[in-house]
Amino acid sequence: MSIWEYANPVKFLRLSERVLPALWVISFACLAIGLIWGFFFTPDDFRQGSTVKIIYLHVPSALMAINAWFMMLVASLIWLIRRHHVSALAAKAAAPVGIAMTLIALITGAVWGQPMWGTWWVWDPRLTSFLILFLFYIGYVALWSAVDDPDSAADLTSMLCIVGSVFAVLSRYAVNFWNQGLHQGASLSLDKETNVANVFYHPLLFSIAGFVCLFLALVLYRTGTEIRRRRMRALMAREVRHA
């Protein structure tokens, strides 16, 4: 049994029906644990004060904003190479989730930056990159909604996703070059000691797990919605054609 079995919409729906309830529960549990622990039971940072609590929102959402795009890129490649409809629809389903994550990362980043940098917005390379990512997401969603035929919409958005990825990486370098930033380095890496102290690290892990599961749950559910929408379209087209 290969993973491609689930490229069949019916099988995919059956699987997602089985997985989804557990996924919702896990994601909300992880989010609750991570955020409550982080919000109520962690000390303030000696330098950043209580704003350090924003880390439990900012870091996971920023992570998912990028991962969502990466997932869309992989799904687009699978569609272009193997032409599995579920893959294309999953990419479509992930885009609005990615937009929400990017939006959260931008808002929390700006709110965090306000006391630290003394201004709501600075054209810091990381913030700027996320803004550009946001534009890419919007263009991607707009293109999906502008093309009527679902297959050519999938084709075109997949190409946009691939070319956009290249330019997003280019933009990242360009932006770095353009303004050496105020932003601190990545908050989370494998050697946690150098970055975030333990007290902050553990709730952060829960929060990240929560965001990951929430993303998966949302994408699975939304993909199911897209599959049903597509099935409805196919049924109606058949009815018209053979009336």
Binding site: A100, I104, I107, L218, T225, R228, R229
Partner: protein, 55 residues
């Protein structure tokens, strides 16, 4: 409620905004999902009915 010190407004607004965005996203997702499910069920019912009449 922990003491958030002088940054209370920032921290709370960050949590509030995130909550709003996530709730809107989840609500929209579920609402769309329900709607499409219902519509699809309707279409399937119609076609089955017609199929029965034809044959």
């Amino acid at each position: 409620m922990p003491d958030l010190g002088k940054y209370a407004a920032e921290v709370l607004s960050a949590y509030g905004a995130t909550c709003v965005v996530l709730c809107v996203l989840v609500a929209a997702t579920l609402w769309q999902g329900r709607k499409v499910r219902a519509e699809l069920a309707q279409v399937e019912k119609n076609q089955d009915g017609k199929g029965a009449q034809d044959g």
